[in-house]
Each structure stands twice: as structure tokens, then as C-alpha cells.
């Protein structure tokens, strides 16, 4: 029973979100010209379709749970991968670490600058990903970050974040060293 309810959760959440967005879309209906469809028509049509599909799926799962599972498993392009994922061990802490690290990277980028933030991100990402060869981690993260700085700032002309305070000074020194003006 708990499994059934869990499998319904995404559809219930999507249905609720769609209903809320449908209500929100009413706010821009006022802009419609007389005799013409308003700017709310298209999103609302999609939201109605989304709600209908979610409700149908909820009903189907409640009444024909076995059939729904069979269909998902029988899918030719996703079945193999699904089975693989289902049978493998999950590393929740690894995933949580990866997501946390990725969020921290985006937060730190403006402060630390691209080079420092990226070198740290790469090294910690490999460590969180259960890779333990320290020399490879350090060299890959430092050389990789340098290569990215060189390629994107010197060749592709993308202005990567330099950071603030001492980190900016470090980035500027590094760019001068790499011959990036």
C-alpha cells in the first residue's frame, strides 16, 4: 500500500502544481483583445492536458497497478536501463554530496573566481565520487582548471568570473602568466 502511494506521489504533486499554475495563469488573461484568444489560452490548454494525464495515470495506477508496472518495464528503450538502475546499489550520500558540492560551486564562483572554484570543485567531486588516487585528483583538477581558463578566455573569448579580493588578484596574475589579456 505504501509503495502504491509512493508511486502516486509524483503525479499528485504535478497535478497540484498544474492546478496552482492554472489559477496563476488567470492573472494574465486580462490582457486578451476582444474576439481573440488571450495569452493565457496556450499555457492553460497545456495545464489542462497535464492535469488530465496525471489524473488518468493516478486512476490507472490505483486500479491496474500491475499493468502499469508491466508497461513501464516492457518499454524497449528504457527497460534495460531501468532494470539496471533498480538492481544496482544506491549511494545516497554520494548523490547528496554531489548536489551540495554543485550548489556550493555556483555560490562560490563569484567569490573565488573560476580557477580556484573549479579546481576545488573538480578535486572534491572526484573524492565524493569515491575516487581515491590523490595525485591524479590534484593534477587533473589543477591542470584541468588551467586548461579551461586558457581555452575559454584565450581562444573562445568567454569572460569567466575572476573572483573578489585576493582571489581576483590571483586570477589576474594567472591570466597574465597564461598570456590572456
Amino acid at each position: 500500500m505504501f509503495g502504491k502511494l509512493t508511486s502516486l506521489a509524483p503525479y499528485v504533486a504535478l497535478c497540484a502544481a498544474a492546478a496552482w499554475l492554472y489559477r496563476d495563469a488567470g492573472a494574465f488573461a486580462a490582457a486578451a483583445r476582444p474576439g481573440q484568444l488571450g495569452p493565457d489560452f496556450w499555457p492553460r490548454a497545456i495545464l489542462v492536458l497535464l492535469i488530465v494525464v496525471c489524473v488518468c495515470e493516478i486512476v490507472r495506477r490505483l486500479l491496474f497497478e500491475g499493468t502499469a508496472r508491466d508497461e513501464s518495464a516492457a518499454s524497449p528503450t528504457s527497460g534495460g536501463a531501468d532494470a539496471q538502475v533498480a538492481s544496482e546499489d544506491r549511494f545516497a550520500w554520494c548523490l547528496a554530496g554531489g548536489i551540495g558540492l554543485t550548489i556550493a560551486y555556483v555560490l562560490a564562483l563569484d567569490w573565488l573566481g573560476f580557477f580556484v572554484a573549479t579546481a576545488l570543485y573538480l578535486a572534491l567531486f572526484m573524492a565524493v565520487g569515491r575516487y581515491r588516487r590523490t595525485r591524479v585528483i590534484v593534477s587533473a583538477s589543477v591542470l584541468g582548471s588551467l586548461a579551461f581558463v586558457y581555452v575559454f578566455m584565450k581562444i573562445v573569448y568567454v569572460s569567466l568570473p575572476l573572483g573578489r579580493g585576493p582571489f581576483k588578484a590571483l586570477s589576474v596574475w594567472l591570466l597574465a602568466l597564461l598570456g590572456v589579456r
Partner: protein, 506 residues
């Protein structure tokens, strides 16, 4: 036809310039590497290459991405056949006959059949693209907004019908993509929609961030949850290719012809693609092939059919992309993005305004087919050594490519947050087994669908029957209905069969 051949000849001459030739070479090698690495999908590879094209001119950019796309449909065959690891979903059918053939002590023959199939599929797809593109573009000149809406709707329904996962999940994914496309300032009325007071959302959500996040970071997070636990591979294994003899090839004529047709059709129909083509070709071989009873035991037909079809989809995809500006797959959506980033809008007029560029791209596709086969024959041994790289290291760099690629487009840190958000969305999609492709295509085709729908409604006084009463749009709408009805009928048929099976088991 003379004019086409003349333009194609000029295209080959333009291809000899250094930037074009270099892009072709790099694209072939990188595409092959991406296809060999199980953690990187073909679409992901093309997406990650996009930022490198910002500083290039349009023709080499498209050549780079197209070459990656073409060689990516071939490279994954090596890991499927030799190590039973499909580099791409489209390589899965190769496991069923390619790997058994290799296990029978004939890996070189299996790789030889793959090379032959990729060569034939590639050549036939290039010829079909050159032959079909101009008539397609002339035909498209007759299109008005109802026809455009009908074609886009067919593409969207195709991705739902042929998406692989359950139809409900594909439809939900599609709706989410279409909704994402509505965020921002509305084209017709100039009204803010779903911006929630956030200024950056006024510009809308870039479909590239959706693609990069969901395909790239989402996949990395999924693999991270599995602890980057792919088995280590002895890539030093003997990798050789032995081409089949003419008398071995000759009996496979029907298989090659069927699979070529399936591949080209799957390419032209928006939403279907190399993976669908590969599976359908194998399925058709299982139903109509001369040696269908032996399929799955390691026979050449089981290798040739999916490989010919998957490579043959590439040219098919390029036809609606160039002639209509409508991408039919993830990879062609990125190629469309590259066109737009360089200020070129594909469509029927492109054959007049940018003929030199179009035919250089076609010429590069011909060269890419030969290039990828030569690469596969002579250089695969060193290339396949990338499999020895630790997955955690390659995944860290893939994640970084996602961020740099997204940042490069607008130099905005907000786009990085979008990548994080859609990376998590992509992971959740994988976790709950929702297909990502409908969301991405919904995001790309949504604005075209809405604009053509609203324009039709304004032009024809809200008469929705206009989509069914005009000959071209009516025909396309009928095909759309069929595309949507087919999986529904399949589901009903399966549901009717299930209780009987249960009773029998009981």
C-alpha cells in the same frame, strides 16, 4: 539536379579550407570518443561541444556538430560488440547479435559488419538529404501557420508515441517542456507569464540550459548515485576489423534496403530518431528477415539492420532542420541552436540565401561518413583506451563542461542556477523513469507551436477546423492522430491480453 550537383561540388571545394577540414576531423574524433564512453550520450556530447563554436564562424560550427552526430551513431558499436557496454541507447540492439558473434570468436567480423553498415547507412543518408532537402524546401514554401502548427504537432506527438517509456510519462514530460517554453514575455501580447517577479525569467528559459542541465548534469548525478560503479575494462583487448566479402554481403540486400528506408523515415519524422530507428529496424528484421529465427544468436543481419538504420537517420533529421527550421531530435536541436547563435535561421529560404553553407555541410557529411569508417578501421584501438579513464574523473569534467557551456552563452551566473535546477530535474526524471527527450523537444518546439497556433487563430477568426480542412495541414493532422492512437491501441491490446495470461499462470 545539375544545379544540386554543381552546388555539392562547390561544397566539397569549400570543405578543403582549413577551418572546415579541421572542424570535420575534430568532430569525427570527439564524436567517436563520446559514443565510446558509456557515461556520455551523443546528445550530451554535441551539447558540450556547443560553447566551443561561439568563436567560430557558422559553417565550421555546424560541420563540427554534424560530424560528431554522425560518428557518434557508429562509435558506440565498438563497446557494445566487444565489451557488452552500449555507448548509446541506439547501440542496445547491437548487444543482441554483435556481442554473441564476438563471443563466438569472431569480433573482427562483427566489427566489419558494423563498419559496412555504418558506411552504407551514412552514404544513403547523405544522398537522401541532398536529394530530398530542396524539394522539401520548395514544398515548405507553401506552408502557412496552420501547416507549421500541424507539422510541429506531428513532431511532438511522434516523440510521445515513439519515446519508449509509458505514454503518460512521455506526455507529462512533454507538457512540462511546453510549459517551460511559455515562461517569459508572451510574443503576441507582451505579457509576463510565470515569471513570479524574477527579472531573469522575463527573458524566458533558454532551452540550451534545459538540455545541458537535464541531459548532462542529470546523467552525472544519476551515475553518482550509482557510485560511479561501472566495471573496469581491459581496453587493451585485441581490436581488429575484418570487412565482409562481397558474396557475404549480397544475400543481405533486403535487410540493407529495409533498414535504410526505416532509418531515413525515422530521421524525417520529427521525434523519432536513431534509437527508435535502430530498434524498429531490428524488430522488422525479426518479423520479415529471411533468417529471423536465428536472430539473437550472432548473425550479420542483427548487426547490419540496427546500424544501417541508426546512421541513416542523421541525413533524414537534417532535412526538416534545414528546410523547415524544425529539429527532430536532441542533437539536431543543438545544431539549430548553433545556427541561431550565429544569426542564421534555417527554413525554406536558406537554400537560396545560404546555398554555399548548406552544400558545404552536405559535402562534410559525405566526407564524415568515409572519415568515421577510416577512423573506425585504423584508429579505434587508441580511441577505445578512454574506457580506462576513471568514471569519477570524466564525470567531474562533464559537469564542468555543462557549467562552462551554459555560462558562455550569456555570461550569466543565473544560467548556472538553471543548470543546477534542470540537472536535479533530469536526475528526478531518471529516478522516476520519465523520458527527458519529450521535455527538451517541448521546450524547443513549444514557441513555434504556440506562435503558429495563435497566428492561425488570429488569421482565421478562431476557426480551429482550419487545421483539418486545409489539404496539407489536414493530412499532417491525420498522421498526428494516427501517431497518438497507435500506442493507445497497443496499450489496449496488451491490457486485453494481460488478464488471460494471468489466468493461465493461475
Amino acid at each position: 539536379m545539375d544545379e544540386t550537383l554543381h552546388q555539392l561540388g562547390l561544397g566539397f571545394l569549400h570543405l578543403l579550407t582549413l577551418p572546415n577540414a579541421a572542424s570535420l576531423g575534430v568532430g569525427l574524433v570527439v564524436g567517436m570518443l563520446v559514443a565510446v564512453l558509456p557515461g556520455l550520450t551523443l546528445v550530451m556530447g554535441v551539447v558540450l561541444a556547443l560553447p566551443f563554436t561561439y568563436g567560430m564562424s557558422v559553417t565550421p560550427s555546424i560541420i563540427l556538430l554534424t560530424a560528431m552526430y554522425l560518428s557518434g551513431t557508429y562509435g558506440g558499436a565498438f563497446t557494445s560488440i566487444l565489451f557488452r557496454i552500449p555507448g548509446e541507447p541506439l547501440d542496445v540492439p547491437l548487444l543482441w547479435d554483435g556481442y554473441p558473434m564476438a563471443r563466438q570468436g569472431k569480433p573482427a567480423q562483427a566489427l566489419g559488419w558494423t563498419l559496412l553498415a555504418a558506411l552504407w547507412g551514412g552514404l544513403i543518408t547523405c544522398v537522401s538529404a541532398v536529394v530530398l532537402a530542396v524539394p522539401f524546401a520548395h514544398f515548405a514554401l507553401r506552408f502557412d501557420s496552420p501547416e507549421y502548427f500541424a507539422v510541429v504537432l506531428l513532431g511532438l506527438s511522434g516523440v510521445v508515441a515513439l519515446g519508449g517509456a509509458s505514454m503518460a510519462k512521455a506526455l507529462i514530460s512533454l507538457c512540462i517542456g511546453l510549459l517551460l517554453a511559455t515562461v517569459g514575455v508572451d510574443d503576441t501580447y507582451g505579457v509576463d507569464r510565470f515569471t513570479f517577479g524574477v527579472p531573469i525569467l522575463k527573458d524566458g528559459i533558454e532551452y540550451l540550459t534545459v538540455m545541458v542541465g537535464a541531459y548532462g548534469l542529470g546523467e552525472v548525478l544519476t551515475r553518482m548515485e550509482q557510485g560511479f560503479a561501472s566495471p573496469s575494462i581491459d581496453a587493451g583487448k585485441k581490436v581488429e576489423t575484418r570487412l565482409p566479402r562481397w558474396r557475404e554481403i549480397w544475400p543481405l540486400r533486403p535487410t540493407i534496403a529495409r533498414s535504410s528506408l526505416i532509418g531515413i523515415l525515422c530521421g524525417i519524422v520529427p521525434g523519432a530518431g536513431a534509437t527508435v530507428g535502430s530498434f524498429v529496424a531490428y524488430g522488422i528484421e525479426g518479423q520479415y528477415g529471411k533468417r529471423r529465427a536465428e536472430l539473437g544468436t550472432g548473425i550479420a543481419e542483427g548487426i547490419v539492420a540496427p546500424q544501417v538504420a541508426s546512421t541513416a537517420t542523421v541525413g533524414g533529421h537534417m532535412v526538416p532542420l534545414l528546410a523547415l527550421g524544425i529539429p527532430g531530435s536532441g542533437a539536431t536541436a543543438v545544431i539549430l541552436g548553433a545556427f541561431l547563435l550565429h544569426g542564421v535561421q534555417p527554413g525554406p529560404q536558406i537554400f537560396q540565401t545560404e546555398a554555399a553553407m548548406v552544400y558545404t555541410i552536405f559535402a562534410s557529411m559525405f566526407a564524415a561518413v568515409f572519415g568515421m569508417c577510416l577512423l573506425g578501421y585504423f584508429a579505434i584501438k587508441p580511441l577505445i583506451r578512454v574506457l580506462q579513464l576513471p568514471e569519477a574523473v570524466t564525470s567531474a569534467f562533464v559537469a564542468l563542461f555543462c557549467f562552462v557551456g551554459a555560462y558562455s552563452a550569456r555570461n550569466s551566473l543565473t544560467d548556472l542556477w538553471m543548470i543546477v535546477i534542470f540537472g536535479i530535474v533530469g536526475y528526478l526524471f531518471e529516478r522516476f523513469r520519465f523520458p527527458i527527450a519529450p521535455m527538451v523537444l517541448g521546450c524547443i518546439l513549444g514557441p513555434i507551436a504556440e506562435t503558429s497556433f495563435m497566428t492561425s487563430m488570429i488569421a482565421y477568426q478562431n476557426d480551429w477546423t482550419i487545421f483539418f480542412t486545409r489539404p496539407i495541414s489536414g493530412t499532417v493532422m491525420a498522421l498526428t492522430v494516427l501517431a497518438l492512437l497507435y500506442p493507445a491501441m497497443r496499450y489496449v491490446r496488451r491490457s486485453m491480453r494481460t488478464p488471460r495470461t494471468t489466468v493461465r499462470h493461475a
